[in-house]
């Protein structure tokens, strides 16, 4: 489903160059649950951003299904992103001035869907995530775990093929963290490809494969269940 070949990213610093990612070759199969680990500055979040097409300044080849992302223009990448990708952030990034229901509606509103269709989808997701009672609350009225739950719901509302989660439990208490990880596992079981970044070994073990990055290089690959 995802194939990266020789993907590299760097910045010019003065006369030299700082590498963020070096010669990344990676294949991710549909339905996989991949964990990316590594110390700070290893390039984990950058790799996630490239996979999510939020970062366009890199070299190499990136194929997503039949699409050669590296050949696409920015507008085409945005379209592809909307079609295949969902994002969950460590800081939840819910919009403070929108209610839970409005936050869920946001990605749908960027997909030119009819309002009735959007309302129906939002209602389904609220029900599926058991947050119907919270739909009119603002993010500041929710706990951290509840906020991340809404953030995951918002990430999957567009039925993405791939869910990218950047330290989804990083800001949560462990009990809330487990709830979120169980949710991701369940989504994966239902067919969504999950790619997460985490520092937590226990959460990393939810993945079928663990990729370790170091200074931009793929240092090691583990398969916990193997």
């Amino acid at each position: 489903m995802i194939k990266l070949h020789n993907v590299e990213k760097s910045y010019e610093v003065g006369a030299g160059r700082t590498w963020v990612l070096r010669r990344i070759d990676l294949e991710i199969k549909e339905g996989e649950f991949l964990t990316i680990m590594g110390p700070s500055g290893a390039g984990k979040s950058t790799l996630l951003a490239i996979l999510g097409m939020l970062d366009g300044a890199w070299t190499g080849e990136y194929n997503l299904f039949e699409h050669a992302v590296h050949k696409l223009k920015n507008q085409q990448r945005v379209e592809l992103h909307k079609r295949y990708i969902g994002f969950v952030f460590q800081q939840y990034h819910l919009l403070d001035n929108l209610t839970v229901a409005e936050n869920l509606d946001l990605p749908l509103s960027y997909r030119d869907l009819k309002k009735s269709e959007r309302q129906s989808t939002v209602a389904d997701v609220l029900d599926r995530f058991q947050i119907v009672g919270k739909k009119d609350l603002y993010p500041s009225q929710l706990s951290g775990g509840q906020q991340q739950l809404v953030a995951v719901a918002r990430a999957v509302i567009g039925n993405p093929k791939v869910l990218l989660a950047d330290e989804p439990t990083g800001s949560l208490h462990s009990s809330h963290g487990k709830m979120i990880m169980d949710l991701l596992k369940e989504l994966n079981r239902q067919g969504t490809t999950i790619i997460q970044v985490t520092h937590n070994d226990a959460w990393a073990a939810y993945g079928g494969r663990i990729l370790n990055l170091l200074d931009g290089w793929i240092a090691k690959e583990d398969r916990p269940g193997a």
Binding site: S45, D55, H93, L95, D96, Y110
Partner: protein, 815 residues
């Protein structure tokens, strides 16, 4: 005191540390304060500053009240009665326009002067610096060949000759002894009919036996001085009683009773008062918008400085102290803005004077003075209070703990300050009100330009000729019959002008339409004599030569124009205007009917033609009734020459002047101008107000747009994280642009709604400045908001484009 200096030091350091912020804030305030100072300088000089005479508040103008309750000139007989019978007035002087031609000081020059009662300067409280005032005995015929010079004329014409008093000068071929020179600062408050200030005075020397001293010979103005302690109302009541008695005694000489007594200062500025106060209001709006913008800048800054303020608070600074610190900064900023504004005002006042119509009263008194400086200082303090309040209020609402925890950064989705939106809304609303006012005035001037003056002003050259001197029977008024020498002069001059190449037609008239002269007579219509003289109609009188109607292209609608057969000794004839005909003979043919002007002794004149109406008092004034007399039957010594050219009329000016001087080189020619210029001058005051309103409205629009831009830019920067999230969730450039633009347009929309309501309420105060457009003109009220919205859209678009360039990765790491 020490803490004050400390606050001031911190404030100065804060401003120096943020040079861009300081520059923008100072420039914004300078524009607002500078515009206000400049306009206040004009208002102060024209409306507020007392006239430069001792106890000027006791000086009053006295007018007869006509049947339309309008002020009218008075006659010598009435003036004498007022002077003799009034107990409220210390004294009354009469004055009459006088335009002598001075010779012997080459070239001959027509001067602007007044003939005045001997008491005139004593009433004003002015004493000559050289020589003496007029003596009572010099106010009698035979003793009146004396003159007092203005300081300017003394310098210009006589080289400041210290021995000028006692010397003889020649004017209109008569010898006058100079008896005095007025002080340098004296400016006559009485413009003559040519709207020029006077520079030479001679005694009026009327007596009751003179034909032009009759009770209905109304060509004099009167100025008086109230006795000390007498209130204006008492004088008004007394003068009305005197007038009532005169009206009963001479029912045929007065069309109405009543005397209009107006303070001299009010009289001088009557026409421009409304326009100047409207302009002062307009610049007030500009200043408010500027204050709003600076308040917005300070709010933005306060948000950035919340950590600093929290630390100060944590270190024990009370809120009062913090607020004082902020106000010190505001006052310092306002003072800097005020200083820059004062510099702008210095230039602005010169600009205003250059732009002002020549007939703006007290124009030469406009300058910055202590009062203006005090006003500017007051403005600075007021503005610092206005724009300093917003950040002070924010401090009262701030939670220092929260600020310290956040490290001074904004929270995720960009918390926006509602006051900033409110300030933008008010700026938009104020700008809209000014724009609507300005557009209404622009449409008024456009409407005026579309008014048909009744003649074709293009390719017309005009100039004034004043025939005078013993050879032209000076002192014998030509109203009694033809003055052959004067007539010969005009006829010869016209013949030579018509022979010039490039001249299509030429003629003369006693006055030019729209030229500012008023020569109006009560009319008696044969067969329609009114039982009461109050019902007699008035008409403007034109004494015209052959060729005048053709030169002006005034159409003859019925009957004929004058011919060479209309001589001095032939039956008196008259042409009347279309309005005259329709008003006096509705549905009838007026030809052959007879009318008479003024006094019973004057002859009946047969109407031989009806001509088109011309606008006389102004393009915005309604049509008046008009009559035309042949020059051969009523000759004026002063006349306006009109020459229709085939090309550029000004190119003919020199040849035309030479043609006149080839008949008599001693006759001064003045006020050479194209008719287009004459019309433009008649609209000058309206154009002045319109231009200034336009400038201030433009300034307001720019400031409002900058305010909107500033707030949206700030909002975009505080919403970076939110925008990043939206992009990560699939938002495209269009979505982000709409997000920002919609916010700006919402603020603009609210501002427009409030502004429309405000404009509807305030525009009626502009009604006196409008013509051909109502104060709530639908097109203006619909079109101007669209213009404002378009500018706002532009102001929104730049920050919106910036928002689309937000890198989601950077934005999401922001926290």
């Amino acid at each position: 005191m020490e803490t004050f200096w400390q606050d001031l030091k911190y404030a100065a350091r804060m401003l120096v540390k943020r040079p861009v912020f300081t520059a923008i804030a100072v420039l914004t305030l300078a524009l607002g304060i500078g515009a206000n100072t400049a306009i206040f300088t004009v208002v102060n000089a024209v409306l507020l500053r007392q006239l430069p005479f001792p106890h000027a508040e006791r000086l009053v103008m006295l007018w007869e009240q006509d049947k339309d309750r309008q002020p009218s000139n008075t006659s010598f007989a009435t003036y004498v009665d007022w002077r003799n019978e009034s107990q409220s007035l210390e004294n009354v002087a009469a004055l009459s326009d006088w335009s002598p031609t001075i010779t012997g000081q080459n070239p001959a020059e027509r001067l602007d002067g007044l003939r005045v009662s001997a008491s005139f300067f004593r009433i004003l409280g002015v004493k000559p610096v050289l020589g003496r005032d007029f003596l009572a005995e010099e106010d009698h015929r035979g003793n009146n060949r004396v003159a007092i010079l203005s300081n300017g004329l003394w310098i210009r014409k006589f080289g400041s000759d210290p021995a000028i008093v006692g010397k003889t000068i020649t004017m209109d071929s008569f010898h006058y002894v100079v008896v005095g020179v007025l002080p340098a600062g004296f400016e006559s408050p009485f413009a003559n009919f040519r709207q020029k200030t006077t520079e030479i005075w001679s005694p009026l020397a009327y007596n009751a036996t003179l034909p032009w001293a009759c009770r209905d010979c109304r060509h004099l103005r009167a100025v008086g001085r109230l006795k000390p302690g007498v209130p204006l109302e008492q004088a008004r009541a007394e003068m009305n009683t005197i007038s009532h008695n005169l009206f009963l005694e001479y029912p045929h000489e007065y069309s109405a009773e009543g005397v209009i007594v107006t303070p001299l200062q009010e009289e001088l500025v009557g026409d421009v008062r409304g326009a100047l106060f409207a302009l002062l209001g307009a610049v007030g709006f500009v200043l408010l918008i500027a204050c709003g913008n600076v308040a917005n800048l300070l709010l933005g800054l306060a948000a950035q400085r919340s950590r600093e303020i929290a630390i100060r608070s944590a270190l024990g600074s009370g809120r009062g102290r913090l607020v004082r610190q902020l106000f010190t900064e505001s006052v310092l900023l306002a003072m800097l803005g005020g200083a820059a504004g004062l510099l702008l005002a210095l230039w602005g006042v010169d600009f205003l004077i250059s732009l002002a119509p020549g007939n703006l009263p007290r124009l030469n008194e406009i300058h910055l003075d202590g009062q203006v400086l005090a006003y500017t200082l007051g403005l600075c303090l007021l503005t610092s209070l206005l724009f300093g309040m917003a950040p002070a209020w924010q401090i009262f609402r701030m939670d220092p703990n929260e600020s310290l925890k956040k490290g001074g950064r904004q929270t995720g989705a960009g918390r926006r300050h509602p006051m900033r939106g409110a300030l933008v809304v008010s700026g938009v609303a104020l700008a809209l009100m000014l724009l609507i006012g300005s557009s209404l005035m622009l449409r008024s001037v456009n409407s005026l330009l579309g008014v048909n003056p009744g003649f074709d002003p293009q390719h017309l050259l005009t100039m004034e000729i004043d025939v005078s001197g013993v050879s032209y029977e000076e002192d014998v008024p030509c109203v009694a019959g033809p003055c052959r020498t004067v007539l010969n002069f005009y006829q010869q001059a016209l013949a030579r002008i018509r022979a010039l190449p490039g001249v299509e037609a030429a003629g003369t008239a006693s006055q030019l339409p729209l030229g500012g002269n008023l020569d109006m007579y009560g009319m008696h219509v044969e067969g329609k004599l009114s039982a009461n003289p109050q019902d007699d109609p008035n008409a403007d009188r034109y004494g015209i030569s052959l060729g005048y109607l053709r030169a002006m292209r005034i159409p003859v609608l019925r009957g004929r124009e004058f011919t060479e057969q209309d001589r001095a000794d032939s039956p008196p004839v008259v042409l009347i205007s279309d309005t005259f005909a329709r008003r006096m003979w509705p549905g009838e043919d007026p030809l052959g009917h007879r009318i008479k002007m003024g006094a019973d002794a004057r002859p009946w004149r047969t109407i031989v033609g009806v001509v088109g109406d011309v606008r006389h008092k102004g393009l915005d004034a309604p049509h008046t009734m008009q009559i035309y007399l042949p020059q051969t039957q009523w000759l004026d010594s002063s006349t306006a020459l009109v020459v229709r050219s085939t090309g550029d009329p000004l190119a003919l000016a020199s040849a035309v002047r030479n043609a006149v001087w080839s008949v008599d080189s001693n006759q001064p020619i003045s006020n050479t101008a194209t008719m287009d210029r004459v019309i433009a001058t008649s609209m000058a005051q309206r154009r002045f107000a319109m231009t200034l309103f336009g400038i201030f409205a433009g300034l307001a629009l720019v400031l409002a747009a900058v305010g909107l831009y500033g707030v949206l830019t700030h909002n975009v920067s505080t919403r970076t994280n939110e925008i990043g999230v939206r992009i990560a969730l699939g938002a495209q450039s269009g979505h982000i642009v709409r997000l920002v633009v919609n916010e700006g347009l919402l603020l603009t929309g609210i501002g427009i709604v409030i502004g429309l309501a405000g404009a509807a309420a305030l525009s009626r105060f502009l009604a006196s400045q409008l013509f051909g457009v109502t104060p709530t003109d639908a097109m203006t009220f619909a079109g101007v908001p669209l213009l404002l919205a378009a500018v706002a859209l532009l102001a929104c678009y730049v920050p919106a484009r910036r928002a689309t360039r937000v890198d989601p990765m950077v934005a999401l790491r922001y926290e």
